[in-house]
């Protein structure tokens, strides 16, 4: 069974540009999460999808971030326009539909550097 995959693994962009990150969850997982870790700090929650619906987007930092999950499969996270403070590692995780205490499976992350 394939795990959670993320693309790209690294992205270096200039301030003001747009970047789109992609996450493919484990097949059949209804729950998809985005998290971010800024260098040396905690991993912070961004948002949670259940199928194609946003269950909780309380962690999204501002309206420069837009997440979608068309058809309830893969998800994209777009940052437009990117700012320096957006640099960090963006993790995606997925979880099956049963049991909120079941573990989330994480992807390898996308390292975003904004210059």
């Amino acid at each position: 069974e394939a795990g959670v995959t993320q693309f790209p693994s690294h992205s270096v962009i200039e301030k003001g540009q747009t970047v789109t990150l992609r996450c493919d969850p484990i097949s059949g997982h209804d729950n998809l999460y985005w998290y971010r870790r800024v260098m040396g700090k905690e991993i912070k929650f961004l948002l949670h999808f259940v199928k194609e619906s946003k269950q909780d987007e309380s962690g999204m930092p501002n309206n420069r971030f837009l997440a979608e999950r068309t058809g309830g499969t893969y998800s994209t996270l777009k940052v437009q326009p990117a700012e320096l403070e957006d640099s960090g590692v963006y993790f995606c995780a997925s979880r099956g539909s049963v049991g909120r205490d079941n573990e989330q499976f994480f992807g390898p992350g996308t390292r975003l550097t904004v210059l």
Partner: protein
Amino acid sequence: AQSVAQPEDQVNVAEGNPLTVKCTYSVSGNPYLFWYVQYPNRGLQFLLKYITGDNLVKGSYGFEAEFNKSQTSFHLKKPSALVSDSALYFCAVISGYSTLTFGKGTMLLVSP
């Protein structure tokens, strides 16, 4: 609000010695606690969790964790460390419905 504290940025231990990585938490209600590990250039991997039941939880790779309600702690332990255990360890608690609140991570370095 839920929170997790990992007081040590780094833990150093010699191979073969026991290791402990500390975690304390603050939650309202019963805590659902997790440990994840991140190896270089890899995603977070689940190690173990405490939901209810025995206070000593056993997980992957020989790791275990002890839940202590009175001290609000969930320390990660292993009786005999391996060099290959060197990695970044995160403690987390479920907050909200199912989102995870993480500590800032502890780097474990096991020397040969």
